[in-house]
Amino acid sequence: MTTFPLLAVLLPFAAAFAGLLLSRRPRLRAPDTPETRAAAARGRAGWFAIIPTAASAVLAIWLAWGPGFAFIEGASPGEPVGRTYGTIVTGGIPISLTLQAGDLSAILGVLVTLVALAVQIYSVGYLHDDPRYPSYSSFISLFTSAMLLVVYAGDLLVLYVGWEIMGLCSYLLIGHWWEDRANSRAAVKAFLVTRLGDVGFLFGIFVLGVSAGSFRIDDVLAEVPEMSTGTLVAATMLLLAGVAGKSAQVPLHTWLPDAMAGPTPISALIHAATMVAAGIFIVARLFPAFLAARPTLDVLAIIAALGMLGAALAALAQDDLKRVLAYSTVSQLAYMAGGLAAGSDSAAIFHLLTHGAFKALLFLCAGAVIHHIGSNLMSQMGGLRRTLPITFVTMTVGFAALMGLPPASGFFSKDALLLTMERALTGGRLTDAAALLLYGCALATVAVTGAYATRAWLRTFFGEARAVALPEPQPGTAHVVDVREAPRTMLVPIVLLAVPALLLGFAGGPHLDLEVAALSVVLALLGGGVVYAFWRSDPVADPSRLLGPFLVPCERAFYVDSLYTAAFVRPLQTMARLVVRTDDRVVDGAVRGSGRTAQRLSGMLRLLQNGNVQLYVTGLLAGVLLIVVGAVVFA
């Protein structure tokens, strides 16, 4: 059992290579037309993708069987299962190749593998006639493997390896439909923004590792009480940069909404199981270090407060269904960050799990809707509850969980988070102002969440059908199919995910605080009710008009992107051009100038070599005379 973490990581990793290298191998006896060959390649790639992920899921469940929900219940931590596979000498602190599953890692491993498995199965149907399916499914396998490496790593630098490979996979997958330049730009943006955070993350690892004398997470956590506050604050602040990048928190959140350019299953994967979950996970994994650094917790609380409300408002104004869900992810992750800042890692991880289930469900349902309509825009949807009954029911479950309505899973986990934030008001590690801001924003966000979830639900499934079948799909949108519901490979994962989205809240023994629970349900219903009232008054118009003059700023997500373009991108481009000019004129100019100077000097010397014998003889005589005079004078 000690090798299970390693196997769980290696299986999808090997699958990625197998999918890339072997799936297009020409079959020996099959009739060899391009079409059958491509279909065979897709089929093989599908098996290469699904079987290893399923095996990893089995291993992960096995690992989690013992501890179960111990982490969320707050039980005393059990002994991690795993082993060390040698060390890499660096000349300084060695890197220890440890893979292990503690209580936290075990339960997260299950989330990662199950969502990845659902996404892989769903993708078989979703990308049915995409010629690049083999590379796509291989990159998902690599993505899964990298996330599992992060989850099971026992050493900070090994964790960083997985952390960065995830960035690469997100780049490759978001840019899957690279024919469209916009997708390519979104992919580059996702990679660069997260990489910017990752540099801080790496430096944070340096600070922790060097002051603990080891990069092993267990050693680092054991050394935390000995470290000075300054060191811890510096380390956790730097780590926070990486967390903000990967988990799409303010101010590095801008990549996530653009990442919707990728195929919808990828959005489900990124938003539910991998990538964005990694940031929350790492804070929980190193939680003792964060708890000992109070200023960092304050910063985290403020980031979370701004992020959750801002993103929820932005979600209310979007017309693209996937962008609504994207901003909703930013907002929900901010909830978890807020819970961590308020001092409860178990509540945050609980919400991470339920969110993983219901957000994956929502994205896969959105994919089914988009698959049907051929467009991402809600203004082209409507009345779909009759044509897509299964999707309607499952997506309703997802939205209920997102709003936090009982008995869906989101209700319990959100309640736990709100309770933590409320308790932070009276006694906790946060400063009063930060705690107040956090709790106030959290309550406001509950209402706004209710509003945007209701709006998306109404605009997608109710009212009149507005869909006009597009003549030819653009690259970057799914292919239009003429079936009433999506193919079975897409429906099965949706239905299966609906189960945990509905029931996961009962796991781990729910602790309800009636006061907070009632408040949050009332707020959510209030938000939803206002939207419903607006929608009833005019079912064709967008209920987001209730935002009034704030609609445009919300839709543009408060102009953060434009600000970054003006503040960073353009100055950098200017500087780059300046450097090229400087390099040519100044640096190389000096080189060329010295060359020219040498030529000019030698040109002057050449004047003496003019072939005039009389001049030469004169010079000779003058030289001899000088030598004689010199000899006489100095002798």
Binding site: L127, E179, V579
Partner: protein, 569 residues
Amino acid sequence: MMGWLPVALLAVPLLGALLLLISPALLRPVLRGYGLVFSGVTLALAVTLAATFDYTQAARPQLTVDQPWIPGLGLRFHLGVDGISLPLVVLTALLTFLCFVYLSWGDARAPGQLLTPATGRPRALVFTLLVLEVGMIGTFLALDLLLFFVFFEVVLIPMYFLIAIWGGRGRRSAAIKFILYTLLGSVVMLLGLLLIWAQTGTLDIVALSQAHGAGMSRGVQVLAFAAVGIGLAVKTPMWPLHTWLPDAHTEAPTVGSVLLAGVLLKMGTYGFARIAIPVLPEGAVVIAPWLGALAVVGIVYGSLACLAQRDLKRMIAYSSVGHMGFVLLGFATLTTVGVNGALFANVAHGLITGLLFFLAGAIKERYGTADMPSLGGGMLATLPHLGAVLTFAAIASLGIPGLAGFWGEMLALLGAFQPAEVLPRELFLVFMAIGGLGAVLTAAYFLVMLSRVTHGLPARPALSLTATHSAPGGAGAGPEETGSGAAESRPEALAAGAAESEPEGGRRPAEVTETGSPAPKAGAMRDIRGYELVAWVPLIVLILLFGLWPKLLLSLTTPAVQTLLGVLS
């Protein structure tokens, strides 16, 4: 007992070159196999060297040869390998062999394969490359200051001819700039070496390293370090002594660029590890902050220059300035971690940038230009395999963990986080932060390049056929593809789609030749060909190997680095 190996490593390519002089007419028909055989034997010797190397004693020079050469000057023919030079010797032999493979595999009639009489002077090319190999391997084997210098200079002349004869349009001025600039640097270095000799009375690198600067005053050490350092910095190249590099790279033929980036630049950084730091430790301590500062300026400056570059080859050349900045930063920390990182980054850069220049050459041959706006994008649609390997190489170069480029840069930064105790730590923390931002910029320019070149729809109408195939949902018959006879000849592009980052393994050659065999239409470009694949796959495999198992290299260099740093560590 195996002391003949280093000598043989030099003798085999030298013999090959001399035989070409002696009997040119006899060898003309077998010229292609000739270079392949001699560089192949050299590679085999290098592998034997790696196999017989005693890895438990990686810190001391092994397989040494020590014969008096010019007794009057105290000059000795002293060769040997240790953990620092072994990877570089093998890398050199490998890259040279791969260059010959690239030139002579298959029918050798492809545009990049210069060994045909039509492209001119095949015999001279083989001769030049073999002499170049002697110089490069000799530099890494030499354990005598003057011998090192001799080999260091031997390299310049064949490289000059390589650029000046087989180069691009502006080859003459680029070659002259290259040789004058590097010669000038070498003169300064020679002065520094002579200063060391004058002060200590010996040219033996082993003895000098063990002395750790004893016998030289601090002032002399600083002066000598500055002089030697400038010579090495020109070769590395360090900002602001880098301007010969973009011109030389842009104009050099593919094999020239590969060897220039893959090996020649390493000679400069190797000199820091072999001579400057161990022989002159006190000088190193004084100069290190300056070296670190210039290194990080180089990182950021190189990255910014890449960001606004239009020419692909020029961009890769400037990326070398940035990567070498990481190597120099690692040296400047004077810690085991940092120097380890520098040596790792050195080898990784040789592999990755070698591959990148192979790819840039392949692109230039196909499109007739390396100007990125003229390439027009969509390479993953028109040439899916080439685009995929380009993506792989670019990603490796920007330092993704799991590929070779990451470990060197990470360790260099870790070294800067905790530099040697004699160095000012705050300053190096600033260097580390700037270096980290440089890593982001590195990612930025490579991704922008990929976006420009490989993504998007191909601009050329003749090639829109395959683009239609690859577009999602576009598998149905479009109007422009009905009636085009080439539709049958391009099915592979559809079946293959585009693997976006990984090499396609050994199965590709058959498929690729299959694709092109039914008479490729005029103007159509062919995807990766057999000779290219054979030359590139070893590099791809090694990039993956060192990335996934960095211990291979680190356990080799660590003891040697600990020895060379001596008192400093």
